[in-house]
Structure formats: C-alpha cells, structure tokens
C-alpha cells in the first residue's frame, strides 16, 4: 500500500527544500519590473514579495500575505516539450508537457492536469474560459476552483495564457475562495492587464 502523494499546499509544487530555503524579497512598486527572466514586464502595486524558490526554471512566484492567502505566478517562455512545474518529491510520474501546437483550451487543460497531479487532487474544476489579451497578444482567461487534500479550504484561481512564437506565457492568481480571492482579484486583473511580453527575437511571430 503506497500513500497518495500528499500536497499540503502549493508549497509542494516547489519541491523539497521549501519553505525552509526559500528567500523572499520585496518587489519594487509602481515601476516596471522584470519577472520570470527577461521575457515579461509587470508594474505591481505596493506590498508584493517574490520568492527565490520557483515552480520551474521558466517561472516566478509572488505573494503579498503568504502563499496560503495569495499567490501570483508568472510563466514566461515555456518551450515545446517542457512541463509547467518541477516534479515534486514523492510524485513518480512525469507531468504533462506544453506543445507549441496547442490550442487555447489545451493550455487550460495542461494547467489543470499539471495541478491535479502535483496537488494529488481530483477536486479541481474549471468554471470558465474566455478570450482575453496578455500584453498585445491574443490569450485565454480561465477561472477555476480546487481543494488540496486536508486543507479544508476551497481556493479560487484565475489565469491568463497566451502562446507567442510557439512558447507559453501564463500569469495565474490563486487565493482562498473565502474573502481573499474577491478582495484582491480586481487589483490583480489590473496588474495582469498591464503585463508586457518580450518574447525572444527568434520567437517573434512572423
């Protein structure tokens, strides 16, 4: 009998050494900030912090009050054949990978499948998908709700994703459905609306 991989929280996404080894730094407010490498620019308001622990090489994670209460993750330049996350300890299977030829709905399915696996959760439902913009690019906005095992909390999430030059760009926000999500979502939407993409020259769409 083997235990189901247990994700107490999204910390599990980051791997073994978190939260002990993760360092937090404050993010400069009201100015352009490079995030997730040089491929994305954001202009955050006050109070955000960025973690040295990253869900993958292509991403960066921010929070304001701690990851349990709000979590904003940026993915930039995820290439064909790459997964969204490092495989967490205790999970013995590969995560699904991004493909350049994916449709907008495929990206949302990839996001859901990846999270179901790392969270060890089947309580994950995408409520809504609609056309949107990320920077100047056509994108899909999706909202969802989920529960991680043993948390006793339902969380809500909203993400915006675009494929540019065959690479994936995605910004995702998660907070508890009770109070926190509604409290912050308007501001986060504004932040995401201001995100600019700087895909590598070679990847610029022809």
């Amino acid at each position: 009998m083997r235990l189901v991989p247990m994700a107490i929280s999204l910390f599990a996404l980051i791997g073994l050494s978190v939260p002990l080894a993760a360092e937090w730094k404050s993010v400069a407010a009201n100015q352009d900030v490079r995030v997730a490498g040089k491929l994305m620019l954001a202009t955050p308001g006050e109070g955000w912090n960025t973690s040295t622990a990253r869900p993958s090489d292509r991403s960066e994670r921010w929070t304001r009050d701690g990851l349990a209460l709000n979590e904003l993750t940026f993915f930039a330049g995820v290439a064909d054949g790459e997964a969204l996350y490092f495989v967490p300890a205790g999970i013995s299977k590969d995560l699904p990978t991004f493909r350049s030829g994916m449709l907008p709905t495929d990206v949302v399915e990839l996001f859901e499948a990846s999270n179901r696996i790392v969270l060890g959760s089947s309580v994950f439902a995408v409520d809504n998908m609609e056309p949107a913009k990320l920077g100047d690019h056509d994108a899909v906005r999706f909202s969802y709700r989920y529960a991680a095992q043993d948390e006793g909390l339902t969380r809500k999430g909203e993400g915006v994703a675009a494929i540019v030059g065959g690479q994936l760009y995605l910004v995702n926000f998660i907070a508890p459905a009770v109070h926190y999500f509604e409290r912050d979502i308007a501001e986060v939407r504004q932040l995401i609306a201001g995100v600019q993409l700087h895909p590598p020259k070679a990847a610029e769409p022809k």
Binding site: M1, L3, P96, I117, M129, D150, G152
Partner: protein
C-alpha cells in the same frame, strides 16, 4: 497508480458527534464489535477510538467528501444486504472523491470508500465483496489485534496524533500500521464470500474483482516497471498473491449454490450521474496504460458513448504521434453511440484542429455549442469555431 483496498481496525465507537446513530448505554463485555452499543474494552482500544473519532470529525469537513446522500444511502444498503441489517448500522460510510481503488475502515465504525472503487467494480455484487471484506476485518477485530502487536513495540497512538496532513495521512498510516497478515486477509476474503452467497449475490463476483485489479496492475507494470514493481512488492507483502486469491475465491465460489444475481443494472443506474465524473477523474490522472486497460475492461466489448469519449480524451491529452487520429476515431464512435453527448463533439472539433483540419474542426465545435446546455468554455470555443479574419 493502483492502490490496494486497505483495511483498518474496527470497533464501533461511542458516537460523540451529533449524528443519526443512536448512542446506546454501555455494553456487556461479550458483545461483538458490530453490536449496537459496543464499547471499547481497555485503554488501548479507547485510545485508538479517540484518535479515530477526531479523524472522523476532520473527515466530515473534507472538501473531498462526496455530498450525495442518495449515493451514500445506496452504498449503505448494499453493505446491509451483504452483512445483514442487524450489524450493518455499526459502519458509517464516507465516500471520498479520489480516483484510486481503495477502501479503509477505522476502529470507530468509519468506513471510507474512494470514488475510484466505484469505477472499478462493475456490479453490486463486486461492490458488496469489498464492503463485506472490510466489514469482516472489523467484525473479527483483526485491526485491534494488529494494533495491540504494534502497541507492544511502540506508542502508535501518540504517533498517530502527530501525523501531519490530517485524515489522508491517517488513512495512509492505517494502511501501513494495520497490516494484516495473509491469514487475516484470506479470512476476510472467505467471510466476504460467505456474505455474498448468503445474501443472494453471485459468489463469483469475489474473484472477478481481483481479476480486474490484476489486469490493471499488469498493464501498469508494462508501462512503468519501477512504479509497478514497488506497488506489487508492497501489495504482496501483506496480501495474498492476487492470482492465488482469484483462484481460491473462484474454487470456493464453485462450491456455493450458483446464483447469477449481481445487480449490474441497479448499480449502473445508481452511479449513472457520477459515471462521467469518475471517468474524467481517472483520465485526468495521466496514467495512460492503466486507464486504457480500465476503460477496455469496463467496456468488455460494449463500448458506450461515455467510455468512448473517455478514451478519446485520454488519447487527445497524451497527444503523441498518432494519438490525435486515434482520438478522432473514438469521438466519432462516441457520437455514433450517442449524438447528444455534447463533449464528444467538442473533443472531435479540438482534435481535428490539432490535426490541421480546421474547416471540419470548426464545424464540430459549432455543433458542440449548439447542443451543449451549460458550458463555461462557450466564449473561447465560440472564438475558435469562427473562420479566422482575413
């Protein structure tokens, strides 16, 4: 990943939380644990109960709990028919939305069934086999015996209280703490067979469920040697070899009065509402080989629209060379079997787009939008279904 049904200790608890289960005055010492009003006899049993009552309180607030009173009542009815109305009230069934083959019992009467079990049993008789197996461990107090052995070696109760991760970890721990020896497992197998036979179910169902599970394990073994090997070793360390199990159950069943009643139709009908979700949860695990095996064994040559759709989704999600073409075929068959299943049109449209068959793909997506009642993806699919602007 296949998980074996794990069996926990049972002794019916004083029900401390408000519930429908009447709490009855102290018992006579010779009472069976399945008797109403049974009380724990000594400090070890009382300690175990306290822990499990707490675990049960957590369980009741879990977001993974399937809140479907009708379905739970049905599970309880099947248990009652199998083990007898006089005893079955000692167990309270909780259904968890977790897509693996598993069931567990706690020493206070809490029985936990995982939704993945419902996908894997094909009729009421197979369901009754698992529920009866669990219940007989309880009745025979196997876990309490095992727990006393552990207590002799370590302070397992204190340890149980410090497990992080709440109920899931505790259930896992029960799986590892309450390891029954093969004798106990066999005893529970045979007891479950007696239950089946005496309650008018097909006694062959007991061996059939292990046959199905073995096939799934083998499919997984071929796909991923390391995982399967580990699972197998873990399994065989505490359970009779699956093949032996199938065989002794089959030969024992042959000595029983034959009976073809397995309640397959009733079972199908009852879980019909959950069926698509059970398939979806399984497909989204990303375990291609075992899911492929499972879908085929559920179909048994009779592929329904739901199963064909699930198979299409499985291939579309994997997206390896040739998978989109295969998925297209499954969606088309699903539509042939039931053209009203909107999701099949959606899958077909998407998989055609992935193959570069844009015109036809968009047409299928438009059909999906036409027949789909509530779809959270209408806006994005609507855009994808349009001819691109020149």
């Amino acid at each position: 990943m296949i998980r074996q049904a794990m069996i926990g200790a049972i002794a019916i608890a004083a029900w401390t939380a408000p519930s429908a289960h009447a709490h009855i005055a102290p018992s006579a010492p010779q009472m069976m644990p399945t008797s109403i009003g049974y009380q724990p006899n000594d400090a070890v049993e009382k300690g175990l109960w306290l822990e499990m009552d707490e675990a049960e309180r957590q369980m009741r607030t879990s977001k993974f709990l399937v809140d479907d009173p009708e379905l739970i009542a049905y599970l309880q009815r099947v248990l009652c028919r199998a083990v007898g109305k006089d005893k079955c009230g000692a167990a309270r069934i909780y259904l968890m939305r977790t897509p693996h083959f598993n069931a567990a019992m706690a020493p206070n009467g809490m029985m936990i069934v995982w939704s993945g079990l419902l996908l894997r049993v094909r009729n009421e008789a197979e369901l009754a086999t698992v529920l009866g197996h669990e219940f007989s461990h309880f009745e025979k107090q196997h876990s309490l015996k095992s727990f006393r052995d552990i207590k002799a070696k370590s302070d397992a109760v204190a340890w149980l209280g410090f497990v992080p991760g709440g109920i899931f970890a505790q259930i896992g721990l029960m799986g590892s703490v309450f390891r029954f020896n093969r004798e106990m497992e066999k005893e529970a197998d045979m007891a479950a067979l007696e239950y089946l036979s005496s309650s008018g179910y097909d006694p062959m169902a007991a061996s059939q469920i292990w046959e199905q599970l073995r096939g799934e394990m083998e499919a997984q073994a071929k796909a991923d040697k390391s995982v399967a090997k580990e699972a197998e070793n873990d399994f065989f360390s505490s359970h009779p070899n699956t093949k032996d199990r199938m065989e002794y159950l089959r030969s024992a069943a042959k000595r029983k009065a034959p009976n073809n009643e397995n309640g397959a139709d009733r079972y199908r009908e009852t879980i019909a509402r959950w069926w698509p979700r059970l398939i979806e949860d399984q497909v989204k695990l990303g375990d291609f080989a075992s899911t492929e095996y499972l879908l085929a064994s559920l179909a048994r040559g009779q592929w329904t629209a739901d199963l064909l759709y699930g198979r299409g989704e499985l291939y579309r999600a994997r997206g390896k060379k040739g998978d989109f073409e295969a998925a297209e075929g499954f969606y088309r068959q699903a539509i042939k079997a039931d053209a009203k299943l909107a999701e099949s049109w959606r899958g077909l449209g998407l998989v055609l787009l992935r193959q570069g068959k844009a015109v036809e793909g968009r047409k299928m997506l438009r059909q999906y939008l036409t027949i789909s009642r509530v779809a959270g993806d209408k806006a994005i699919i609507g855009l994808m279904a349009q001819e691109p602007a020149k």
